[in-house]
Amino acid sequence: MSKEWPLWEVFIRGQHGLNHRHVGSLHAPDAEMAILNARDVYTRRNEGVSIWVVKSVDITASSPSEKGPLFEPSNSKVYRHPTFYDIPEEVGHM
């Protein structure tokens, strides 16, 4: 059979000025068609104001088996959170 269309990952920015967010993937022969297909597949109800598409093969992902060592360093750094610090009530909102 003929060649399969490549897979694209689709990112959409919603109405409220947030970042583009990954919403799913789809097949398309090229980037232009990927955008058009993404419009039809992922924004049928006004979900977006902007679409990015990226070929799935171009994405490098962290490996699930390294989840521990990769993210562990931030686990022990509770002082990065505001709640780590006790501020007296008299000081007011901070």
Binding site: W5, G24, S25, P29, D30, V41, R45
Partner: protein, 330 residues
């Protein structure tokens, strides 16, 4: 359901599991999501490919009975609504094929298995849609039954499947409501229109009950799928819920559910009802329903007729890419 007969091997007991399998099961028991690149038992992967693939095929084939009425919808508004609904189903199919693809099978491979009759789709779509009232009954009953099954699947253990289900569920309630709205219109119309609505209910009631799959006592394969959380409820549980939800809706329409044994059972807090004819179900699954040949034929024809177009787009994309590629210095 949309995946009615997904067979797995029997349930493994903890002492039969390898350490990896046990750790995997513990993750699922803790409610963790399994993501595509993580380790999973082969059986889990295979069962999910079958189940998600079957589900995707059902969405795509499910466009056909409704597509049948797009050109003959009674008003422009109804036509626009039906088009939107059928387009949603195409979207549902695409979300699900993508979820299946994360497990290492390609969409075209799944399509090929469908076209060769090696993968199934829901038995419900092998019944004909004879009148406009069927558009009402399909939305109300068929999408209603689908919702019953899909809502709990939002919590399924496989991340991409769960996310696809969440998207789908957001869109399904429109499907059921537009169907019920058609039924309300027809049931409060002329006697002839009301009779059409009743006839649609009569024909689609039992096929809708079959959507949940055979009775639990006959489906030996659910235990492993339930342990893996790729099946969240038993077939009979969901069927009971569906009946309990649907009967009052039929009463509101002034229509009669075609089951002389239907009776409220105070003790169990649900209706007693007749089982569908399971021999008919197995017959339809085996390919002998009223529309099996039509449905599969339409799918294969669409795929074959579209080949030149798919290939043309690829050729165009390749040419455009070659034109853009930097030419080596000469």
């Amino acid at each position: 359901m949309y995946a009615q007969l997904v067979s797995t091997d029997g349930l493994k007991k903890p002492e039969e599991m390898t350490p990896e399998e046990r750790a995997f099961q513990e993750r699922i028991d803790r409610g963790e999501k399994i993501e595509p690149k993580e380790w999973m038992p082969e059986g889990y992967r295979k069962t999910l490919i079958r189940q998600i693939g079957q589900h995707a095929h059902s969405e795509i084939v499910g466009q056909l009975p409704e597509g049948n009425w797009i050109t003959r919808a009674p008003t422009l508004e109804r036509k626009a609504i039906l088009l939107a609904k059928v387009q949603d189903e195409a979207g549902h199919g695409l979300y699900l094929y993508c979820a299946a693809e994360t497990l290492g099978v390609s969409r075209d491979e799944l399509m090929e298995l469908l076209h060769k009759g090696k993968m199934k789709y829901s038995s419900i779509f092998n019944y004909p849609t004879l009148t406009w009232a069927d558009m009402g009954a399909v939305g109300w009953l068929v999408d209603g039954a689908a919702i019953m099954n899909q809502v709990p699947l939002q919590r399924t253990s496989f991340g991409p499947y769960s996310r696809a289900m969440i998207r789908i569920c957001k869109e399904e309630s429109f499907h059921q409501r537009q169907g019920y709205a058609i039924m309300m219109k027809m049931a409060s119309g002329t006697p002839a229109q009301k009779a059409m609505a009743q006839d649609a209910l009569n024909r689609l009631w039992y096929p809708s009950l079959m959507m949940f799959g055979p009775s639990d006592k006959d489906s030996v394969h659910s235990a492993q799928s339930m342990a893996w959380k790729i099946k969240m409820n038993t077939n009979d549980e969901l069927r009971q819920k569906f009946v309990d939800q649907t009967v009052p809706q039929a009463e509101y329409l002034g229509l009669t559910v075609p089951d002389p044994n239907l009776k409220w059972n105070e003790e169990k807090g649900g209706y007693d009802f007749s089982e569908p004819d399971w021999s008919e179900f197995f017959d339809v699954i085996a390919g002998n329903g009223p529309c099996n040949k039509d449905r599969l034929g339409a799918r294969v024809k669409a795929w074959d007729d579209g080949a030149w177009f798919r290939e043309g787009l690829v050729a165009h994309a390749e040419k455009a890419a070659a034109r853009k590629a930097p030419v080596a210095a000469e």
